[in-house]
Point group: C2
Chain length 124, copies 2
DNA sequence: TTAGCTGCAAAGAGTTTGCTGGGAG
DNA sequence: CTCCCAGCAAACTCTTTGCAGCTAA
């Protein structure tokens, strides 16, 4: 089942993946259609097994539900650097308490220029 | 100049606006084209006068640069409730110090169900 | 047989772009 | 006269959907 292949790709990836990345990867060993990838991913999201996150580039990134990560994204080379420590949960709980809003998820994204691009002076 | 109309709409709005909202609003008094709205908004963003933020719904929201706000978005009624206090700047400074990444902006978005929808029990 | 996967092609939504005419300085 | 602004239509990108055939239980 292609669902398993997709799930495993996500499971073994250290970073979140786009539908296209998954499609390209799978294509090397399996016969797949992009629609199938999207459809499967949406199924997994609906089941709560994976997470979907739309970034500033308007592209949806998927990852296994439990590997909650935030990223620092370089506006020059577009690399996404994961940030482990998420102190937002504290803030979320505080907001929940103060407003009665039942917060179930959040997204956080930092933008700027990564050290490498700063050194290379390749900033546009 | 339509740029001024657009800028003022954003200036007088308590919340961030989408290109379409701006277009609809302007259309009542002025003759405009959606492309013009987009083009003007992108100009303003390039000049740093306004800010563009793509949310999970894949729609770009614009606001005046200095009114930095985050939102709690109800997944049921889709209303966006602004959150004033942004403690992310602290985190950003810390990350900058630890990683050398020059963070210039960030986005934060909370998702869940708002008090009103919880009470009404209209959750799907 | 019944239900759930697929592939394929077409549709959709939001946004961008090329080309052209117009108005401001 | 230049140059920037605006309108229009077409193009683009990522994603979704309808339809039909297949496959597994």
């Amino acid at each position: 089942m292609k669902k398993d292949i997709i799930f495993n790709l996500l499971k073994n990836s250290p970073k979140s993946l786009t539908a296209e990345e998954i499609y390209n990867d799978m294509s090397q060993t399996t016969d797949v259609n992009l629609s199938t990838v999207y459809r499967t991913l949406n199924n997994l999201v609906a089941k709560g097994e994976i997470t979907k996150n739309v970034r500033q580039d308007k592209i949806a990134y998927f990852e296994i539900g439990d590997q909650h990560k935030h990223y620092m994204i370089c506006d020059n080379c577009h690399t996404a650097f994961p940030t482990e420590n998420c102190e937002i949960d504290k803030l979320a709980r505080k907001l929940k308490r103060e407003t009665g809003f039942n917060i179930t998820s959040h997204t956080l994204e930092f933008h700027g220029i990564c050290p490498e691009c700063i050194n290379k002076g390749t900033n546009k």
